[in-house]
């Protein structure tokens, strides 16, 4: 094996043995992590009969997408049998505005806290950080009350509001730490060039913060999409997000347990976060590379 570049390493049989050992261990970890996913995918593609006859680890003999179709549009969630589709839509309507608003406000906060220092900025930031450590169970009742007062109880906009408020602590933290590293000279130069608070924010600072935006979007999307507690506490029936609906599908106590439908439903509920990670992750890496060469 020829080393093209990099740090010089010692050679010899001992090193070879160590490397083989290393990769065996890494391989075992990989399998350990991937087996559950494999079981889920393969089970979701089997028929109920095949599930009953075969073992958990056996691959499907005849691939069938019936379970996926059923999970999507005809599985019973509680008493309604429309599948996950409407709840999936609920989640989308919740997650898109919540992520956008909380990310935008976080960026604005971080910018104001670092580049337009004002008296008490550090205190305000410390107070905002509290939000990151509050166990959400604690605020369920007061928040329910607040939503009721606002007329948002049991609605998707109400959920957007809750997620935006409780996302702010993290998004502000991310952006503040990013902007701390951005040269204040750039903001001063823009001030002398005649730009104001928002002019500098939109035209200079925001275009520079793609990496921070991507990290924040991934984080917020994952948090909000996967949230179960707020979903079950603040929505009812038709306005449930997909996580709550999934629970209702799986925990239904009547009829036969349809493992293939459950598995398909679980994968459907998890797909968007995976997709965001894959798509935004590519952007993330590109953003990092762009940052590395910037002046």
């Amino acid at each position: 094996m020829k080393q093209a570049s990099g740090i010089v390493r010692p050679k010899g049989w001992r090193q070879n043995v160590q490397r083989v050992l290393l990769f065996v261990v890494l391989g075992l970890f990989c399998i350990y992590y991937l087996v559950p996913l494999f079981v889920m995918v393969s089970t979701s593609l089997k028929s109920l009969a095949e599930i009953r006859e075969g073992t958990l680890l056996a691959p499907p003999r005849a691939i069938s997408t019936d379970a996926w179709a059923k999970a999507w549009n005809s599985a019973c969630v509680g008493v309604r049998c429309n599948g996950l589709a409407p709840y999936f839509a609920n989640s989308v309507f919740m997650v898109v505005p919540a992520v956008l608003i909380s990310t935008f406000l976080g960026a604005l906060n971080g910018y104001a806290l670092t580049k337009w220092r004002f008296r008490g900025a550090d205190t305000i930031f410390a107070l905002m950080l509290f939000g990151a450590f509050i166990p959400f169970q604690v605020i369920l009742l007061p928040m329910a009350r607040t939503l009721g007062e606002l007329g948002l109880a049991g609605t998707i906009p109400g959920l957007v509001f809750v997620h935006t408020v409780y996302g702010l602590a993290f998004t502000t933290l991310f952006f503040r730490n990013f902007f701390i590293g951005v040269s204040s000279g750039i903001v001063q130069a823009a001030q002398i060039d005649g730009a104001g608070f928002f002019g500098i924010f939109f035209r200079i600072v925001l275009p520079m913060s793609i990496p921070a935006i991507v990290v924040t979007v991934i984080w917020q999307f994952t948090q909000i999409w996967n949230d179960f507690l707020f979903g079950i506490a603040f929505t009812v029936g038709e306005s449930n997000p997909v996580t709550v609906a999934l629970n209702n599908v799986v925990n239904t106590s009547t009829g036969v347990k349809e493992y293939n439908v459950d598995m398909a439903a679980a994968i459907i509920a998890a797909l968007p976060t995976l997709a965001v990670y894959v798509v935004a992750g590519a952007w993330f890496v590109r953003g990092l590379a762009a940052g590395a060469v910037k002046g």
């Binding site: 040269s183 000279g185 750039i186 001063q188 130069a189 823009a190 001030q191 002398i192 060039d193 005649g194 730009a195 002019g199 035209r203 200079i204 275009p207 520079m208 762009a290 060469v293 910037k294 002046g295």
Partner: protein, 368 residues
């Protein structure tokens, strides 16, 4: 009329007073360099003029207008930053035109100004690149272009050359001076590099601990420093500072050291008259390295003093060689021609131009 006037300017950060009452009058078209060690307040003073910091007390006038409460954008200034502070996501073109863009200058006028200064600074071929793709010298030019293009009346430079390598720094220094001659605008320039200050300034303000110690043209600051601080700060290698005592025995002289190695530097009349009656006082004798050379190697002049000392080390710089020697336990540097240099250990005959010697009070540090 777009000079700058500072009246009793003070600035504190919390309990620390950084600018301790500065009065400064800068004429239209002047090139004033604020120079001093780090932490002397020179950058803060520049930021106060720019409006990037708020005054604690005092007044700042630009072109006769009191600008204490005028934001940076409305002060008719442009600034070049040490870090260049280019907008990393914008192309060179957009970096340069951003200031005109925010002021809604018509596109045609923007293009004309861009063309004029891109040509002047030789960055025409870089306009579509991002700052990240430029070398240090090119970034520096773009930063200058961004400042020049709006044609403000006052330019502020905050250590603009300190991130460049030595060769480029000298090139850009010359270019800044050319630009100033050509445009004739008022310039305030901050640096810690005394050579930059000497070469660029029409007047130098030497700053220390929030005060201006001396404000004068470069020759005066160099040849006529008001105190030990200014004398020590300006010049490279620095002025030799020799502790001694003022005596009168057949003419005024400075005695340095004691015992067999004691040296008696006779003072020429011009200097002796200034310190008449101060016999016995402890003083510091300031001798610039270039006023000490190998005996007999320069045209003879009045008031020369010759003495012998062993060479400690010799440091060739190319055009000159620095010879380090000792008087009364203090290291001194002499600047001699390379062919006169001798290796360490040899006894060397030095000649001092006493007419250019400076005397300072040992206690107050003030020039006598």
């Amino acid at each position: 009329m777009t000079g700058i006037t500072l009246k009793e300017v003070r600035k504190s950060f919390g309990a620390t007073e950084v600018i301790k009452g500065i009065d400064l009058e800068i004429e239209q078209g002047e090139f004033v360099v604020l120079v001093g060690p780090s932490g002397c307040g020179k950058s803060t003073l520049l930021n106060l003029i720019a409006g990037l910091e708020t005054l604690s007390s005092g007044d700042i006038l630009i072109g006769g207008r009191r600008v204490n409460d005028v934001p940076p954008r409305d002060r008719d200034i442009a600034m070049v930053f040490q870090s260049y502070a280019l907008y990393p996501t914008k192309t060179v073109r957009d970096n340069i035109t951003f200031g005109m863009e925010t002021r809604r200058v018509p596109k045609a006028a923007q293009a004309a100004a861009l063309e004029e200064f891109a040509g002047l600074l030789q960055i025409g071929h870089l306009l579509d690149r991002k700052p990240g793709q430029l070398s240090g010298g090119q970034r520096q030019r773009v930063a200058m272009g961004r400042a020049l293009v709006r044609k403000p009346e006052v330019f502020l430079f905050d250590e603009p050359l300190s991130n460049l390598d030595a060769k480029l720094r000298i090139e850009m220094r010359t270019e800044i001076k050319k630009l100033h001659q050509r445009l004739g605008k008022t310039v305030v320039y901050v640096t810690h590099d005394q050579i930059e200050a000497m070469t660029l300034a029409t007047r130098i303000a030497v700053m220390d601990e929030g005060h201006i110690r001396q404000l004068a043209d470069p020759a005066t600051v160099y040849e006529d420093p008001v105190d030990l601080f200014v004398a020590g700060f300006m010049g490279s290698p620095p002025m030799n500072m020799l502790s001694g005592r003022l005596v009168r025995d057949g003419g005024m002289a400075v005695l340095c050291g004691d015992g067999p190695t004691q040296l008696r530097f006779p003072l020429p009349d011009r200097i002796a008259n200034r310190v008449a009656g101060a016999e016995g006082r402890d003083i510091v004798l300031g001798l610039r390295p270039e006023t000490i050379f190998a005996a007999g190697t320069q045209l003879p002049g009045p008031d020369r003093f010759v003495f012998e000392r062993p060479v400690v080390v010799d440091e060739p710089t190319g055009p000159d060689t620095m010879i380090v020697f000792e008087i009364a336990g203090q290291d001194l540097i002499a600047r001699v021609r390379p062919q006169d240099a001798r290796p360490g250990g040899t006894v060397f005959r030095f000649e001092v131009e006493m007419d250019r010697a400076k005397l300072f009070d040992a206690k107050t540090g003030l020039r006598l």
